[in-house]
């Protein structure tokens, strides 16, 4: 069932490739149908998850829908997938976002088939990362996501796509190789040698920390930090985003960045608990620096898309802050630590939805005016009320206004972290202020005042297609903000289980 959900998009893509000269409309609608079907499958998995995992779900290894097939037994690697409360929300977020991109791309007429096939490929790869329970399988999907995104940026980007795509590829590939070195280190340290995440979590090979564990954690954290990205490994992100097509940016920021943060909760924390405790403060500091630096640089941008790209650095910083703080907890403070981890996972989902919406909106803006420069626009609220409303909603969600998903996530992170790292948390609070300032400034520039648009720009409001693609993302953010239980119910037990592994 889970395997079907993971590989359905890839299969559909291969079928599309095999069909001789299909019409563009057929390709686009097939893509939408497949993405919708895949979302349905993931929702079925979600609905059946509580029953499938059974009552002992607080225990470590509460995985449901597991498939375990031998792949390369001589190096102890297998095709092992399954879901728990940490991966399920991300799977659902991924399926939602890919469906939104499919709808958004319905009128995409540049090499439609290759475009659709690449996104279907990326969808399989992303779902694969979030359901892999084997380090090698995780790495395979992780690496393939880079290949897929490279072709999306190089093939459909604007500006200087070839250069940005190459920079993206080289940078993130270096990160993935560092990750691989770390995984090999874990493999060699485990006795018997294995790449299986569940086995490694059950018997962490380098549990007590020490220099080897530190080195392995360094390699893994470096790989994940580049993918996430955190300061100072974020420099690949702005050019990649600026030159990527709208749907590509939405997937890159919404889904691919989460592979990094998800790696921390799936691999780094549970398998290297000792080293995580030892170096937790480093992650807290990197998180706080990312929060502030991302927000400050975003504040300085004049280009709407670049600004949104830098806020991703800021939002990923909150996640790292929460996870790092959890590493400093003692057994008595497990509740607070679990709260921070829950908030971090919620933030992954929330950021995926909101930033996906913002990038698709930026794409809509670019379709009309041909530029992302904020100074070129003004007073759009009068002629494009829908665009203004959705952008405002996504921006408010992103800056953490109560009633929207960002608030739920950030509130939990801050409340959970405050008792362990009071000063860094207090400093990180400033990030919210800065993001509020920069989003309000952008909204003011774009939507208020006298109407100002570039020459030859279209002034039509969002089309039905764009609305159908973007509105559900913001609606989900509102839903999470008002009724968070449906999301927190699966996350919380998994966060508690994770914290139980990490705390002393």
């Amino acid at each position: 069932m889970l395997s079907v959900a993971v590989f359905l998009p890839l299969l559909a893509g291969l079928v599309l490739l095999a069909v001789p000269r299909p019409r563009d409309g057929l390709v686009a609608w097939t893509w939408v149908c497949v993405a919708a079907l895949d979302l349905f499958l993931v929702l079925v998995l979600w609905a059946r998850y509580p029953a499938a995992v059974g009552p002992g779900q607080d225990a470590v290894g509460g995985f449901a829908f597991e498939t375990h097939v031998r792949w390369i037994p001589s190096v102890g690697a297998g095709y092992h997938i399954g879901v728990d409360g940490l991966s399920l929300p991300l799977l659902a977020m991924t399926a939602v976002l890919f469906l939104a991109c499919a709808v958004h791309s319905l009128r995409q007429r540049r090499r439609t088939r290759a475009h659709a096939v690449l996104f279907l490929f990326l969808q399989t790869v992303s779902l694969g990362v979030f359901s892999a329970l084997d380090l090698l399988l995780f790495f395979v999907f992780f690496d393939l996501s880079i290949v897929g995104m490279y072709f999306v940026i190089a093939g459909w980007g604007h500006g200087r796509p070839a250069r940005s795509a190459l920079q993206f590829f080289l940078y993130t590939f270096l990160g993935s190789l560092a990750l691989l070195l770390g995984f090999i280190g874990l493999y060699l340290a485990a006795d018997p040698h294995t790449f299986d995440i569940v086995e490694l979590t059950g018997r962490p090979p380098l549990e007590d920390g020490g220099p080897v564990a530190g080195l392995v954690l360094l390699a893994i954290a470096l790989g994940l930090a580049i993918k996430t990205p955190t300061v100072p490994f974020h420099t690949w992100l702005p050019p990649a985003h600026t030159d990527a097509p709208a749907a590509g940016s939405a997937i890159l920021a919404g889904v691919l960045l989460k592979m990094g943060t998800y790696g921390f909760v799936r691999v780094a924390m549970p398998i290297l608990p000792g080293a995580w405790r030892e170096y937790a403060m480093v992650f807290v500091v990197v998180g706080v620096v990312s929060v502030l630096y991302g927000a400050l640089v975003a504040l300085a941008q004049t280009d709407f898309k670049r600004m949104v790209a830098y806020t991703s650095v800021n939002h990923m910083g909150y996640i790292l802050l929460g996870l790092g703080a959890a590493g400093l907890a003692t057994a008595d403070e497990a509740r607070a630590a679990a709260l921070a981890v829950t908030g971090s996972v919620t933030q992954m989902v929330s950021h995926g939805l909101l930033t996906g919406a913002l990038f698709l909106l930026a794409g809509a803006l670019h379709d009309r005016g041909g530029t992302y420069r904020m100074a070129s626009y003004g007073g759009l609220a009068g002629t494009m009320p829908l665009l203004a409303a959705l952008t405002s909603l996504a921006a408010f969600g992103s800056l953490g206004l109560p009633g929207l998903s960002g608030f739920i996530a950030e509130f939990q992170i801050f409340t959970g972290s405050l008792s362990f790292v009071p000063v860094p948390t207090a400093v990180a609070f400033l990030g919210i202020l800065l993001t509020a300032a920069l989003f309000l400034r952008a909204l003011q520039q774009l939507f208020t005042g006298d109407l100002r648009i570039p020459e030859h720009a279209r002034t039509g409001d969002l089309t039905a297609r764009e609305l159908v693609a973007i509105a559900p993302l913001t609606a989900l953010s509102v839903a999470i903000g008002l009724f968070p239980r449906f999301l927190l119910d699966p996350i919380e037990p998994a966060a508690r289980a994770l914290v139980a592994l990490v705390v002393r």
Binding site: W71, S74, V147, L181
Partner: protein, 472 residues
């Protein structure tokens, strides 16, 4: 089995078939009119399939034996299969390019003899057999390189020959020195005698033998011929020369380290690790700004030797991954590199990277095969080379060569740059000015088919790596 006992010919069926096929092709070629040379090709392909069947049967029986300086074990079995597949691909590619060429059947003969020499290199368990195999694996290739007698081919052949002759003499010198140090040339006796031998003598002899084998492998410092031969020789020959001989050379190096030098007064792993580091780094630097597709593949071949040498250097590891890793990587590399060359062969008029612009829109299958093979050479999962790299990296890390693994990872990223320089134009819009004529020229159909097949095999080997690694 006893070292001096009788030689069991049943053990050597694949080698005998190769030798007989070479003789038969020579005779048959002489009697066949030029436009019907395809019958020779058919016979050679049949003989190769027969040899492959024999090699697989022998593998299934899997008896380890050493007779007359030739070892038949898992390593030899794997090399036989890989080399036979490699030469089969080379014959198909050559048939496509050389069809009707006056020297068509001679080229098959030389390919078969070169392949025989390569298998003998891998199986040699005596330095004298190793030296003979070296000559057999080299001389046919000098002739093949110069087969078309154009200026590029002649220059390549001359360089190839001079370097090969010099390093061949060095190999013989090394054999003599080790004979002096250990009192014998067979590996088992040498392994016992070398620990007590004078250190300088052992070191000098080993380094000299190593030099000869590095020439065959195309690794630093024996690599100078690789770019010129690859560029000057006919494309199918270039494919063969950069791929197949190194299979034998690297297994011979591994055998030397594993069977002879384990207790010798010499830091063999460190020596190999340094050569690996030099090979991968210099190869990558050389490839960086190449604009000719074949020269790029040539430098990529040099850098790949570096990764392969990591397995040779990892001989001291405990996880037992060095040998399966090496053999798997060799097979994966052979399939992937030949796949890339098959695309080159299928577009005879296309030389520079720029001329590949827009290939995806004209020949999507060729372009996709090329992308799979090039990303495969980088080591992107789930292609076969990824699994090869993974096992080799793991083996090296297990042997304590952390610095080498980190360097290899950095080199892998660097290599990505130049492979992508080739990948990217494939998907760009059609060119309007130069390079137009290149792709529109007739593509060779057999080569295209071979390229697609090899790309698929490379993917399949990666996905089904488990059972394959299990038998190595």
């Amino acid at each position: 089995m006893s070292m001096t006992g009788h030689v069991d010919p049943a053990m050597l069926v694949p080698e005998i078939v190769l030798a007989l096929a070479a003789v038969a092709a020579l005779l048959l070629g002489g009697w066949t009119p030029r436009r019907r040379q395809w019958t020779v090709r058919l016979c050679v392909v049949a003989a190769l399939l027969g040899a492959l069947a024999a090699a697989l049967t022998a593998w299934a029986r899997s008896e380890d034996m050493v007779t007359g300086g030739f070892a038949v074990d898992a390593g030899t079995h794997a090399v036989r299969v890989t080399v036979l597949v490699g030469v089969l691909v080379a014959v198909l590619l050559a048939g496509d390019s050389f069809s009707g060429h006056p020297r068509e059947s001679e080229s098959y003969v030389l390919l078969l003899l070169g392949a025989l020499g390569t298998v003998a290199l891998a199986g040699a368990s005596d330095l004298l057999v190793l030296a003979a195999a070296y000559l057999l694996a080299s001389i046919p290739l000098y002739a093949l390189t110069g087969l078309t007698r154009d200026s590029g081919g002649t220059e390549g052949a001359l360089k190839f020959y001079l370097l090969g002759a010099m390093l061949g003499i060095l190999l013989l010198t090394g054999t003599a020195l080790l004979l002096g140090a250990g009192g014998a040339t067979d590996y088992a006796t040498l392994a016992g005698a070398l620990p007590d031998a004078p250190r300088a003598l052992v070191a000098a002899g080993t380094v000299a033998v190593l030099a000869g084998l590095l020439f065959k492998a195309g690794g630093v410092p024996g690599h100078f011929w690789v770019p010129d031969v690859t560029e000057g020789a006919p494309a199918p020959v270039a494919a063969f020369v950069t791929t197949v001989p190194k299979i034998g050379a690297l297994v011979a190096l591994y055998r030397l380290g594993n069977e002879v030098l384990t207790r010798a007064p010499l830091d063999w792993p460190l020596l190999c690790a340094l050569l690996a580091a030099a090979s991968m780094t210099l190869g990558n630097l050389g490839a960086f700004f190449q604009t000719d597709a074949r020269r790029l593949l040539a430098y990529s071949a040099i850098s790949q030797v570096g990764y392969l040498l990591m397995a040779v250097a990892a001989v001291g590891g405990t996880a037992g991954l060095a040998r399966p890793g090496l053999l798997f990587y060799l097979a994966a590399y052979a399939v992937t590199n030949l796949g890339a060359f098959a695309v080159v062969c299928s577009l005879p008029a296309t030389r520079s990277l720029e001329q590949y612009t827009g290939l995806f829109h004209r020949r999507p299958w060729s372009a996709l095969s090329l992308v799979v093979c090039l990303l495969g050479l980088v080591g992107t999962p789930p292609t076969a080379v990824f699994v090869g790299k993974l096992t080799v990296f793991t083996a090296a890390l297990d042997a304590g060569l952390v610095w080498l693994v980190v360097l290899a990872a950095v080199n892998t990223v660097v290599s990505l740059f130049y492979y992508l320089r080739w990948v990217f134009p494939l998907f760009r819009a059609r060119p309007t000015t130069s390079g137009e004529g290149a792709i529109t020229g007739l593509a060779r159909r057999t080569s295209t088919g071979v390229a697609v097949t090899l790309a698929a095999v490379s993917l399949a080997m990666g996905v089904l790596a488990g059972p394959l690694l299990g038998v190595l």
